[in-house]
Amino acid sequence: MDAAISTLLSPVILFFILGGLAGFARSDLAIPESIAKGMSLYLMAAIGLKGGVQVAEAGFSLGIVAALAAGLALGFILPLIAYPALRWFGRLDGVNAGAVAAHYGSVSVVTFVTGVEVLTVGDLAPAGYMVAVLALMETPAILVGLFLANRSGAAIGNGEGKGGALWREVLLNGSVVLLVGSFLIGIIAGKDGFTPIAPMFETAFRGVLCLFLLDMGLVAARRLTQSRALTVRLSVLAIALPILNGTIGALVGILIGLDVGSASALAILAASASYIAVPAAMRMALPRADAGLYLALSLGITFPFNITVGIPLYTALASWFAGVIA
């Protein structure tokens, strides 16, 4: 409880809340899009590098393989849970349900980054290889979501978009490439190679995260107020799905033997919903799905929920599962 409150009162989260309040009050506060994009790329490069350096230090372990396998499995399974909930409880058509399910099966880099910050402050720093799990979990859900949308009869873009462009979007998505690339650079460079660039990627990290979350608060509020298709039922799902997925993630993490910090990180990944890789792929493959809707759900509701309530919740669950099982 105390931990949850101290999380809420850290500048990182307070800036997010400031952004959200400003957005709801329709203040004209706005961070230029290119700056926000730049900060987002910076955060990915930094988290990738740091994860790689940690793996270079810690060396290879069986835990890595187990975590990667678990992440991959979650990426394929979670959308299969979300889809029926979105169709029958959320009353979405097949195309939109498939598109939204893909978002919830995939992951949000910034939710992960914020979670790692919070866990590290609470002495539960997850293993460096969780960055690789993050990267691996970005794409499987896209494939499952498209499969589900197609089964429901959505001719994907008139046969267009199925081709190379879509596959490139899915597999060579910018955030995947940057995460994996920086991770590998971190492994190659190791601690010695990282030291000269550490002031940029480590010391400045939290400050940048503050400003980025300020923007995310603004964006989340805008998404929420601008969408037309948001219903109460869907809003309920945008909170229920991350709780369910986070619980599954925490449980799986503990069961495969991860430490509490890493299991919490896996829970945060499972609970988080994509807002970079998946929206771009859906726009290309399912142009008829309502982009305003899936962004309102993932960015407008799930993201703020995870940042403020979810992260401490999933951490508590992981600790509890660890206690029960031990």
Binding site: S40, G157, N158, E160, E169, R228, R283, P287, R288, L299
Partner: protein
């Protein structure tokens, strides 16, 4: 006075991730020269949108080409099946150009 000839100006509003479809059909139809502009924001059947470079999913572009009647007809014909599925917005109008042989 400089002599001008009539040509067709084709404009297509298209989601950024779907621009490659428009470009492909432009090139197939024989439109070799075109220019693309970034839209800033707008309003459509799903409400207000504005380009946030972050998700990229809401960005829109304006494709602009000036060409002769024949080429432009071929291009419009080729795009028609995508108007609905890709949510394209297509306008055509008349313009006058100098050095008409270039278009």
């Amino acid at each position: 006075m400089t002599t001008t000839v009539r040509r067709r100006r084709i404009e297509v509003l298209v989601d950024k991730p779907l621009m490659s479809t428009v470009e492909k059909h432009a090139e197939l139809a024989g439109i070799e020269h075109y220019t693309i502009f970034a839209a800033h924001s707008g309003r459509g059947h799903t409400g207000r949108w504005s380009d946030d470079q972050l998700t990229g999913a809401l960005a829109k572009r304006m494709f602009l080409a000036v060409s002769n009647e024949e080429t432009s007809d071929r291009f419009i014909e080729a795009l028609t099946p995508f108007l609905d599925s890709h949510g394209l917005v297509l306008f055509v109008s008349n313009v006058e150009v100098v050095r008409g042989e270039r278009y």
